[in-house]
Amino acid sequence: MKPFYACNSPEHHLSRRQFLAGMATGALGIMGGGFSSFIHSAVAGELKSSEKRVLLIWLHGGVSQLETWDPKPGTSTGGPFQAIPTTVPGVHISELLPHCAKQMHRLALIRSINTAENDHAKGAYLMHTGRKQMPNMEWPHLGAVMAKLLGSPDNPLPGYIHITPRGQGGFNKQDAAFLGPRYCSVSLADGKPPENLLRPEPLTESADRQRNDLRQRLNNRFLQGRRTAETEAYTQSYDQAAQIMERRAVFDISKEPPKLAERYGSHDFGRHCLLARRLLENGVTFVKVTHSNYDTHYENFEFHIEQLGEFDQTFATLLDDLDQRGLLQSTLVIVMSEFGRTPKINRNYGRDHWGTAWSIALAGCGIQGGAVVGKTNADGTAVTDRMVGAGHLFHTYFRALGLNPKKNHYVNQQPIPMADPAASAIEEILA
């Protein structure tokens, strides 16, 4: 999809703001580069309170709903753990989440998800895009959609950042599908800054400036009479690169007070969540932190003790920290997985893949703290009240963020509903 940018005249450059306004509603196309040339003077680090953000904690592999948000102690499927009371009277969660229990007034639970999907990749796709995978269609991730709808063009930082436990960092173009790579996720492997962010050793700052001055002079001469949307995008990608280089400290958690870092936890997930808060604070629209791994086919209980032991305190600290900085009310927080785990405990003390009746937790922007929606039966094998799927969740995220999920994306002028038209928002959980 190419932007409509037929005109080569300089007058049209002055109407870029209108162009951007058009883009924000999704009516035009995707522009490749950043729009940073307009904001050289803007101090991008300051976050306006009206800006909204999303934090997604991805419990990779499929966290057990029975060991988290929907415990069934004393049943054949309940496992060895107890349920504990929370700050919301009558609401109990697993004893593995004592710190989260103290945050319950900020959390909302949906205990009635049925996605009917037990495959890791398909489940992840469904939960990230709100749509089933189809051979002929690629859907953008929620992160890409939000980067586009909520992102500030003034911010040189990527709109969708994914902090992964390890692996290869980089740009994941497929995440943005038809929205274009401008909105794709950027992985920070083990929280390390994006590749090539730092100026290579022997090149001094002044030499870098000099060579860029020369590059710009060349461009100005060449583009006289040749300017197009594509050349604009190209030259601006360098501005954006320069700006993110300038803001490299955003990726550096050693700038955080050690006391706070300690509260987050010295393990990977703790460091990654602290980085996530730093990124959100600096105007990254959508931050996903993956906590790995919950795919516990063997010794489910042992592994949930270990993994949730990291998750619980860190996540509670993160909520407190966001709240104390005044960010929580404008940040939608989502804790989810590709699916839940089987109520039936298998012969190796494991639980298997289970998309039939499971839970997620939400908090922050637009979410009614303490709300619990939906029910499963006594042993957790079926949803008995308010069954919802990934489409409902997608609608709910939009609404929580003050967006209309019934709007369309436009691909080659073709309207594509942002959220599955067959689903609707879970009103009872919205603030």
Partner: protein
């Protein structure tokens, strides 16, 4: 066979091990022990009960009191007490032979799961271990705490008293065995059990500890059963292993493995007074293995009908008890079958 039968080692031939009794419960079982008199077998179940079967006649009695699963069971016969520990960190003392045993005492033993407990050879001290990284000693007669043994850096998985009575050993998740001097209350030696531990980089979680731990009758050998060469922690893909330590040197003397290619975990290990070892394991199915301390591969394997979860040896030296995922305790006789 009567409970007061003496071990007649001449009659034992592990290669002839065969099922002699099946005791069924409706919920999967996680651990079991014969009482020292040999009259009962007790088993912890996933329905939070402890089941007691009288071997003679198979009468089943339910011990109700835990609110979580019980895997650790230990007896203080002089005080007629069974101690059971659960995932909640609670330890309950029960009269072994009461008609319907009720909790006599409940200890808030640990923060987090008590995976194992043991009673000292003199019957006076109960040792417990928990996810709070602690080992604790308690007075058997009155349940008073005696000592807290701190030093482990991860969940403590198992423990055993040395038959000499002076030492206790405990093993933690990350493959460290500590030897505690009971009189001093100090850790006096560390044994390396890293072969039973792995940090799985893919799943970013620890797998390790010993699911079972036992001393030989003479105290010269220590056996720790678990899983090694893990390729996928979250599917339990690895090799069952019993590490046999020379108590004197503290070094592994032998790594005992199944003879067959078997993926899974050793959930229970016992020494027979005559010197061989038996292990119960599970993965995709269950097995009983028999080893001689001097040979690395099992000399006999009995395929089990289901996933085995623990193992104990009867005072008669003939019968083995195995609790299963399918809710049964099965008793296997190692004595030669009558011709």
């Amino acid at each position: 066979m009567r409970a007061d039968d003496k071990p007649e080692t001449a009659l034992i031939d592990p290669a002839q091990t065969h099922l002699v009794q099946e005791l069924k419960h409706s919920s999967p079982l996680v651990g079991c022990r014969f009482d020292p008199s040999g009259r009962f077998v007790f088993a912890g179940a996933q329905d939070n009960t402890v089941q007691r079967w009288e071997l003679d006649g198979g009468k089943r009695t339910e011990l109700v009191g835990h609110k979580s699963w019980v895997r650790g069971l230990a007896f203080a016969p002089k005080n007629n007490l069974l101690f059971t520990g659960d995932y909640q960190g609670k330890v309950i003392a029960w009269p072994i032979d009461a008609e319907t045993p009720a909790p006599e005492r409940t200890l808030d033993a640990h923060r987090g799961w008590v995976r194992a407990l043991a009673v000292s050879p003199d019957g006076q001290t109960l040792a417990t271990c928990g996810n709070d990284h602690l080992v604790k000693l308690w007075s058997v007669p009155d349940g008073k705490p005696l000592r807290e043994l701190a030093g482990h850096a991860s969940h403590v998985y198992n423990l055993a008293f040395h038959p000499g009575g002076q030492f206790l050993v405990s093993i933690e998740l990350k493959g460290v065995i500590r030897q505690w001097d009971l009189a001093e209350g100090k850790s006096v030696r560390e044994l390396d059990a890293k072969v039973l531990y792995k940090y799985d980089e893919t799943f970013r979680a620890d797998i390790g500890g010993a699911r079972s731990m036992a001393f030989s009758t003479d105290g010269s050998l220590l056996a720790c059963g678990g899983i090694t060469e893990v390729t996928n922690a979250f599917a339990g893909v690895g090799k069952p292993l019993v590490v046999l330590y020379d108590w004197q040197t503290g070094k592994p003397k032998q790594l005992l493995r199944p003879k067959e290619n078997f993926q899974g975990t050793v959930w229970g290990v016992v020494f027979h007074p005559s010197g061989f070892l038996a292990g119960a394991g599970a993965g995709a199915g269950g097995a009983l293995w028999f080893w001689r301390p001097e040979e690395p591969l099992a000399f006999f394997t009995l395929k089990l009908p289901n996933n085995a979860r623990d193992l104990d040896l009867h005072a008669d030296g003939r019968r083995l008890a195995v609790p299963f995922f399918d809710g049964a305790v099965r008793l296997y006789d190692m004595a030669k079958k009558p011709a």
